[in-house]
């Protein structure tokens, strides 16, 4: 990811809101080439139709990796306890060149989560090849970023379809959804997703995605890129800065389970000054979830989802 991609992500959001996307038609979706997905019994994912679109040549490996993992089929079942008033379509597609972005997105125009094949390669590139000083592994980042992104976009879908009152900034709120849901699972899952998601934003910050501190002597021609190269205008993004997203994620992990995430504070990854507020922040989130989303979640199916091993051992190494 870089500034250009981030800017493009904004463009795509606007484009998607402005243009009515045609709902995915079954005829356009690739059939399961097999081995066929074996659904988990007792989790009805029919409210979440799926569609893998034909990948272009560049994205064939991404399609193969995602489809062979049955990522959409699995995620549809994961979402089965959530009772949305309308079907939410899960789509894997080429986002370039039509959407000018690699980033997954939710579109209210077609009530669909769009997962870009390009994103798969971006995450692979961002993942460290060796374990980092914070103990983050390559598997943590790949799994955590994918899971975190799926959950983040689902957050947007829930806010839209459930008319969730959002007083704060929606992009922060969607990150909160991702962190909160991750924290409802066992410690291995929690740490994989929280660490992977946080590390991704740390890398983004280190790669210059936080707002610049000085003027660009040669500002880009493109108006959005020029904005993101400006020390003031860069803050106009609806998303938090990369570093804000890093610390927000670490804070919710620590606030939700201080024992599991106390090393974040001990190693100085999460500053003590912020850590002191994390219990309050997590409980604010827990309360908001309970009041606005929990009524739409089937408790029996939720329990089954929480006890299901969604991630493979290799994905949590």
């Amino acid at each position: 990811m870089n500034v250009l991609k981030l800017a493009a992500a904004l463009t795509i959001l606007l484009a998607v809101q402005a243009v009515s996307l045609a709902p995915a038609r079954a005829d356009d979706c690739l059939p399961d080439p097999g081995p066929k997905y074996q659904p988990i019994q007792g989790l009805d994912g029919s409210g979440y139709p799926i569609c893998y679109f034909q990948p272009n040549d560049t994205n064939k490996s991404a399609y193969t990796a995602l489809q062979s993992r049955h990522i959409l089929e699995v995620y549809a079942q994961f979402l089965s306890p959530l009772r949305l008033p309308h079907p939410l379509t899960l789509v894997a597609l080429n986002c370039q060149p039509d959407f000018h972005s690699d980033s997954p997105f939710y579109s209210s125009a077609d009530r669909a989560l769009h997962f870009c094949y390009e994103w798969y390669n971006d995450v692979l590139q961002a993942a460290p090849t060796a374990t980092t000083t914070q103990g983050v592994t390559r598997a943590n980042v790949i799994t955590g970023m994918w899971a975190g992104t799926l959950l983040h976009e689902t957050g947007h879908a829930m806010f839209d379809m459930l008319d969730v009152p959002v007083f704060g900034r929606e992009e922060d709120a969607a990150d909160e959804v991702a962190a909160f849901i991750a924290l409802q699972f066992n410690k291995d899952v929690q740490r994989t997703i929280i660490k992977g998601f946080a590390y991704f934003w740390q890398m983004a910050a280190q790669n210059g995605e936080d707002p610049p501190t000085v003027d660009d002597p040669n500002p880009p021609q493109d108006v959005i890129q020029r904005c993101f190269s400006d020390p003031l205008c860069a803050y106009s993004d609806v998303h938090g800065t990369a570093s804000q997203r890093l610390y927000n994620t670490l804070c919710l992990g620590y606030g939700g389970d201080p024992d599991t995430f106390k090393d974040f504070v001990q190693m100085g990854w999460l500053p003590q000054t912020r850590a002191a507020d994390c219990d309050r922040e997590y409980h604010q989130l827990e309360f908001a979830f309970a009041k606005t989303i929990l009524p739409f979640i089937d408790p029996q199916m939720r329990a089954k989802v929480q006890s299901t091993p969604w991630l493979l051992p290799t994905e949590m190494q």
Binding site: P165, R169, P211
Partner: protein
Amino acid sequence: MPSWLIGSMGERVCHSIEIADRAHRLAGIGRFSRRANTPGRLWRNIFAAAAIVVSLAAPALAQTPALQPNPQIQVDYIQPKPNPAADPNQFTDFTTIYAWLQVRQPLGEVQKFLAPLRLSRPIKIQVDTCGAERRPYVSGGLVTICYELIDKIEKIAGTITNNDSLKQTVIVGTFTETVLHELAYAVFDVLQVPVWGRIDDAADRLAAFVLMQFSEDISHTAMVGSAEFFLLSRKTWTGSAFANTRSPDAQRFYNYLCIAYGGDSLDFGGWTQAPKGQDPLLPAFRAQQCAHEYDQVRDAFNLRIMPFVDPDLLLQVKAAQWFVPAELGK
């Protein structure tokens, strides 16, 4: 950065006024004529000359007595305390502020402003010496406006030269925003409002939304004044500074612009315009989201706060004249 994006927002305010004024003149309204520079007034002088301001205020304030103060809102102005670690001049400044508060009684206005709000338990709001710009609200505790922040507003406004009207707008608008922002925490707490997103941003968005429900005089003063304050007080953020629970002033600046533009794209439409070859103050990609952002806060307000608001009293609050002409830079 284009030169007109540097420094005070005053030029851009003028630009927005030019555009809006044109629109209003076409409609035969011309409401922005008040933006002509008013006679020079300094913030320090405003405090010192509080009696004059109040005398100016008398006719306007006479329009609010029908509103009874909300008995659940308790207010207090605590005498400033000297801080041995701080500049002694600061204590002098606080004493001047305290004297102004005693005369102007702005928190008394807040008691009336919040008359429609039905609260299950009292909220106490005070002005106190904090040793910092803010004293974070703790559930069930007091709402505190810190002398240090009022002092900062004064000093930031003091950096605006050659535009006394804008200076006045920053002082009045930012003080009003500050009170509503700090009160928002207590309102969320007492009404048990679920808050998605960072609570500091939520408090900003609620304050901005509330301020947009009033006449153009009020909304313009509050939104322009607050945005200008954030612009002028912004600092460079790097690394772990982003761990702060509060958002950078530059981010808050755009949040305010967006709620204002989203709530009234006519009055604030100038922010999306720019002279040829320059970029607008509010970038198009954000501006296109602002109606959605405004609607999002409005819907949240209607769902979670409006049930605790007396609609008849609300209309009286909206009809009242809350600022005196001098406070509006008239």
